[in-house]
């Protein structure tokens, strides 16, 4: 317990968390500090590319092992399944409409890549190894949850809007393509390829992550100010912190079943605990335009993301260490 607290405190005072807090504070105080949209997008491309290549290189070093298939399979099952857990929790905790519950549920089955990145950074900082292919698991978990969300709506008699090409769009989503593509680049070029570009993708990584989190803090803060106005209920906020814990527990189980290393288990927990704020919101706007975006964006980016970033990650790492004896 003490160890968890120490870890959490350490984590809370790291440059990346403080940068997020700075952005959050600036937005809540209504400072005009802002990051240009193009710069934010460029940083997200950089982070996806770097994390993908690093994951791929790690696989090229340590080999794939049969567990890759298991882990990806587990990720897909989790992504399909978690929305049902989320939907149930939402039904108990909130008075949201079916369509809003389904939309929110879709977010929690999918993943937040920046939470994953932050967790990888924490693991690295503590010298804990994690399977490189967890990047591929992350990519695999992005999309299935969307199907579950749509199914939850249609089961209730709702009809998602014009879906032509939606599946294609989701699977060929920029962030999935970039993650999978750069993972492949890493696998193919291996350590030798990495040597050529590591002063670009390894050395400055954490610094870029700081500025990216500064921006995410700004965006989250603006969203929270909005949400305060539109009155997101206490039940919903409670959900935003309970659901990651539920997700992480299932992720823990899956990680242990797949026989992942302690680091891998922690990342599986993080993926399950985190909620999407890129791929799923876009898909929901297309398929469920009646769902209220401020509900799911606020929960995902304004509640769950900071919860995972500050308390969740150190907790998941500690639990995974304890459970795996790592």
């Amino acid at each position: 317990m003490n160890e968890i607290l120490a870890l959490a405190a350490d984590n809370l005072l790291s440059p990346i968390i403080l940068s997020f807090a700075l952005g959050l504070g600036a937005a809540l105080a209504r400072s005009d500090l802002s990051v240009p949209e193009a710069a934010a997008k460029a940083m997200s491309i950089y982070l996806l590319f770097a994390i993908g290549v690093k994951g791929g290189v790690s696989v090229s070093e340590h080999g794939l092992g049969p567990d890759l298939i298991a882990a990806i399979g587990a990720g897909i099952v989790l992504s399909f399944g978690l929305p049902f857990v989320a939907f149930g929790l939402l039904s108990v905790l909130t008075g949201l409409s079916r369509i809003d519950r389904a939309a929110v549920a879709g977010h929690y089955g999918s993943i937040s890549i920046v939470t994953f990145v932050a967790a990888s950074t924490v693991l690295e900082g503590q010298g804990i190894f994690a399977e490189g292919y967890m990047v591929a698991v992350a990519a695999a978990m992005e999309a299935p949850a969307i199907l579950s969300a749509l199914w939850l709506v249609s089961r209730g008699g709702g009809r998602p809007a014009g879906n032509d090409g939606l599946m294609r769009e989701i699977l060929l989503n920029g962030s999935i393509v970039l993650l999978v593509g750069s993972f492949a680049i890493g696998v193919i070029t291996g350590t030798e390829g990495l040597a050529q570009i590591d002063s670009f993708i390894v050395a400055p990584f954490q610094g870029v992550l700081c500025l990216f989190l500064l921006d995410m803090g700004l965006v989250a803060g603006r969203g929270l100010r909005q949400a305060r106005a539109s009155g997101l209920g206490k039940g919903a906020i409670l959900f935003g912190m309970a659901m990651p814990l539920a997700g992480a527990s299932l992720g823990l189980l899956a990680g242990l079943l797949c026989g992942l290393t302690p680091g891998g288990v922690a990342l599986m927990m993080v993926l399950s605990a985190s909620a999407s704020y890129i791929a799923v919101p876009a898909a929901m706007r297309v398929a469920l335009p009646e769902a209220n975006p401020s509900v799911y964006l606020t929960l995902s980016l304004g509640v769950t993301f900071p919860f995972n970033l500050t308390l969740g990650i150190p907790l998941y790492v500690a639990v995974s260490q304890a459970m795996t004896g790592g």
Partner: protein, 103 residues
């Protein structure tokens, strides 16, 4: 200078729907349009800004079509199918254009 009457249709729509809208326009035979980026705004769903956004879920664009009056209805129907369920504002204004053969 000789000018001709035409309609200027401006469709303000979510960025994620842009492709669907322009596909629908193209299917309806509308081949000319220009797209402007909307950097913020406000509506029934509250104010928003594109600053620092990475999600494609937020953000809107304006699709602008200059079109002959007689082709307006076709355009409007194609657009309406896409815009109907989604956030979006459609306005039609009168303009004069120079090279009418282009429209």
């Amino acid at each position: 200078m000789q000018t001709h009457k035409a309609k200027r249709v401006v469709i303000t729509i979510e960025a994620i729907m842009q492709k669907r809208l322009t596909d629908a326009l193209e299917s309806a035979g509308v081949t000319g349009y220009s797209i402007l980026d909307v950097i913020g705004g406000s509506g029934r769903s509250g104010p928003w800004t594109s600053e620092g956004q990475i999600s494609r879920a937020s953000g809107m664009v304006q699709v602008i079509c200059i079109i002959r009056e007689e082709r307006l209805d076709t355009l409007m129907e194609a657009a309406f199918d896409v815009v109907e369920k989604h956030i979006g504002v459609v306005t039609i204004g009168d303009v004069e254009v120079v090279r009418a053969e282009r429209f």
